[in-house]
Symmetry: C2
Subunit: 203 residues, 2 copies
């Protein structure tokens, strides 16, 4: 038991240090985080959010890589997000807009995450309003990254988007199947293979 | 002078009522909004934000329609957002991430907006933390709409995206040139014309 508690303490400490980087955290607020956070080790390939699950969870990634995606009418997967260390992942359409889940979240690799019930996070601001500026900054940066993604999708070629993707996730190709990456970039696997082949020729 | 003040009062009242819908607003906070807000009538076609302008402004749309876009390396415009009544518009990449402006914002039609310096909005939360939950909800809904837009771009056909666009902005075609709409949907004007022609045939 001691060693498990110790691991959770160590993992959560990283998140708490991150929060402290933006806001001043009272000892009570810090203790509250420990009561609502749950460390989870997710095996590779495990699905932690899916359209048939009702519980609303949000995850902070400590280690590994997770992916959120939807399944189109044609049965194809479309990747909305990859989340690596220090990123949040969840079905934010469901959580923020109180809609049924439409996304699936799976562990691309074995991952260590901190799990929160979205209700606990939503209710944190009344007793601990000090979290507001932290969450505002998080959301602002989320909006920035989404605006950039949309603009890139509109104005860049598939090859340019692939280059940017590799800058953002330098070693992701080592552990992610091609169809994940293609479905994130909005291209076919054949196009991705062609882009890669042309890239290798230039090197 | 009296009538102008009266119009500003009337316009701002709409925004303030909207804020009250989410949070309890103290008389001091309401008075503060009046000191930092500036009503502007923007003639059709006027550019209010551009990459060469340093001042960071954010606009709440009371009437009319505005558009934010970037210009690609090929000189083509790519529309990130249309903003109609009760929407906010600005270069949020610049505002939230403290980067130079990359977007242009122009009035698609004659528009009435409430203009804020983004610095004034950013500083509002220290004396008036009651605005935090209002802004958090705004940002959450912004994230939801951007996630939906990305997923639609990945999984829907151009025709399906066009249908959704018309549901979101029912009368926009009456006042927006084709190339604005095509550049928002990420398709050529020729494709847009083809989709429209096929749609008319089906009716």
């Amino acid at each position: 038991m001691f060693s498990e508690t110790h691991i959770i303490f160590f993992t959560l400490k990283t998140l708490i240090d991150r929060i402290r980087h933006t806001i001043t955290l009272s000892p009570e607020a810090e203790r509250h985080i420990y009561t609502i956070a749950k460390e989870q080790v997710i095996p590779k390939g495990e699905i932690i959010i899916s359209p048939d699950k009702k519980s609303r969870k949000v995850y902070f990634v400590m280690d590994g890589c997770l992916r959120s995606y939807c399944i189109g009418k044609d049965g194809k997967e479309h990747t909305l997000q990859f989340a690596v260390q220090n990123w949040w992942i969840g079905d934010f359409i469901a959580v923020y807009n109180n809609e049924p889940h439409t996304l699936t979240v799976e562990a691309v690799t074995k991952s260590i995450v901190i799990e929160f019930n979205s209700k606990d996070l939503d209710e944190i601001f009344i007793p601990f309003p000090e979290f507001e500026p932290f969450q505002r900054k998080n959301l602002e940066l989320h909006v920035v990254s989404l605006h950039k993604r949309i603009l890139n999708q509109l104005q860049l070629t598939a090859q340019e988007r692939y280059e940017l993707f590799l800058q953002q996730y330098p070693d992701i190709e080592q552990y992610t199947p091609n169809y994940h990456i293609a479905s994130y970039l909005g291209i076919t696997q054949q196009s991705l293979s062609r882009i890669r082949a042309e890239r290798l020729k230039k090197k």
